[in-house]
Subunit: 333 residues, 2 copies
């Protein structure tokens, strides 16, 4: 169903001729009106991706790994935000080493990116150097970092409130009757793991009656499998995971020991990947507010004031949400 | 576990000094030896992604939509192939209109891409113009197109054998006892849909005793849901889908009519996304041979002979595989 010019014109309170000029990339329209029309047209479902001339308004995205669906979900949400502004993205994945990350970011800037959004990059690893970000910032490139935080570095940091996330998950498991809860996470030098373990330890120390165990493996399916073997052996009946992909590995690890989820072991994921509601059992998880994160990241890297492109330091903390499905239940005994 | 220089040297039959020079990007090594060492090092598990200087050897990838996991799986397999050659990729997603696709491909070339891999792009749509590919080919850019075919266009076309795929799925359903089988697919102007419907119709006409129904919706979850309502109403007990994402929609559509999979309705997906084995029920599906497709695409766009970069026309047909899991069973009555 094609959205008509008249609908867009009425909604944006401009003439049909103006809508036509904007959608066909013609001059004679102020930038303010152009953005208004593009935003209304996109909201009504019209494809606005060809409004702007090519090469303009590209944002670079760095992603660690596209096979974990949370990263494609983040990228798609960022692309939605960009499309509503007549912009688009260029993506580099799996630039794992610091050198590759630096080269990838330089390539994106060379390709015309006005700003860069870094998903779980080296900014999130306490042991990694960050000079390659500083060099970009000094050249006026805007940077937004998702799920990681570093002191003494400019740019906009957008992170999930891990304290709230861990608290919501542990309280859910405790309310179901679990008395020994495990945390399954990856590399302890990364920001989300440090924050989750800090929050987990503080929560238990604050008089919570639940016993705690932590397994550090990695954020993969295999990492979840290994963590399940370790945490179940240490007596846990409820397991909070650092990702939904890990949670699927925990379910398989439990099954390999003859235990079923949620009858014997309860599992809480993290991310809320789209497939979590189709798994068997459907995943109880902590939902990252992906659209909110994407909007904050795009707003941070779009230069709104061309005279001062050096972004100051900004920290944005977004609150996740507990989504209860089928992978949690009262413990068997 | 770090792979030692000595292991790589022994395996590649070169000195440790040579391995060190290659892995640190130092000169004094022939390109042939460099590629050998990189390939052996990558096979042994060493990160070789920083071997080559930045900006060199980038391949551009165009993907329609990252939220369908088959595309991230394809991209990751392509990145694996590129990493083994010391190369990397730059990706643009969701360039849906012809204009956006053209602009995205131009941006990738401007960013230094020596070759372009197009996943399910406008080459696959019989109604779309393809002059933007011709202009790139004339400038010496190498192009590989995945899952689509167009006459009178140069480059390498890599497609799944849809005739084999449809035949394997229908025979599986017929062997289980299904007598009325439906095909749920997207836009009939795209190559995979045209090929599937042609194969489906021919198969039935060749005396197969199974009755056929086709629903044209779209390749999304919602498209699957709608197709289920339509095909079940028309009496189908087995449904072959154009994608696994559609298959998940078919399962939900059947559930909305009070029918369960596989007890009342059998469902066969297409793609074999990684999450298909965790769904409830686990998906019986047609597996695209992703690593084979990725290797063929990378080989096609890497310039091996700098004097003749104009690739001729090449057609590669790859055979998929039926993977039987829990979403198919004998019909209820």
């Amino acid at each position: 169903m094609k959205v008509r010019l008249a609908d867009i014109a009425r909604e944006a309170a401009v003439s049909e001729a103006t809508v036509s000029r904007v959608l066909n990339g013609k001059p004679g329209v102020t930038e303010e009106t152009r953005r208004l029309v593009v935003s209304v047209a996109a909201r009504l479902g019209r494809d606005t991706s060809s409004v702007y001339a090519h090469g303009e308004d590209i944002v670079g995205i760095l992603a660690p790994d596209l096979t974990n669906p949370i990263f494609p979900q983040m990228i798609s949400a960022i692309d939605d935000e960009l499309a509503a502004r007549g912009m688009s993205s260029m993506i580099v994945a799996r630039a794992f080493s610091v050198e590759r990350e630096r080269d990838a970011l330089e390539s994106l800037v060379a390709a015309g990116a006005c700003g860069l959004i870094v998903l779980s990059g080296h900014h999130a690893n306490a042991l990694s150097p960050v000079d390659h970000y500083r060099l970009l910032l000094e050249r006026g490139v805007r940077l937004a970092y998702i799920n990681g935080r570093r002191e003494n570095l400019s740019g906009t940091f957008i992170s999930v409130d891990e304290t709230y996330a861990v608290s919501a998950a542990v309280e859910h498991l405790a309310a179901l009757g679990h008395r020994s809860v495990g945390l399954a996470v990856g590399d302890e030098h990364t920001y989300p793991v440090r924050e989750k373990t800090r929050a987990f330890n503080e929560l238990i120390e604050r008089g919570n009656t639940v016993a705690k165990q932590i397994a550090f493996t990695d954020f993969s399916h295999e990492g979840g499998f290994q963590a399940a073997l370790e945490l179940v052996r240490r007596g846990c009946t409820g397991i909070l995971c650092g990702s939904d992909v890990m949670a699927l590995g925990v379910i398989e690890g439990a099954a390999s020991m003859g235990l079923s989820v949620p009858n014997d072991i309860s599992v809480v994921g993290f991310d809320d990947i789209a497939f979590g509601r189709y798994t068997s059992p459907a995943l109880t998880t902590i939902r990252q507010p992906v659209p909110v994160i994407a909007r904050a990241a795009v707003n941070a890297v779009i230069a709104t004031d061309s005279e001062d492109r050096r972004a100051p330091r900004a920290d944005i903390l977004v609150r996740p949400e507990l989504v209860v499905r089928g992978s949690t239940a009262p413990p068997a005994c």
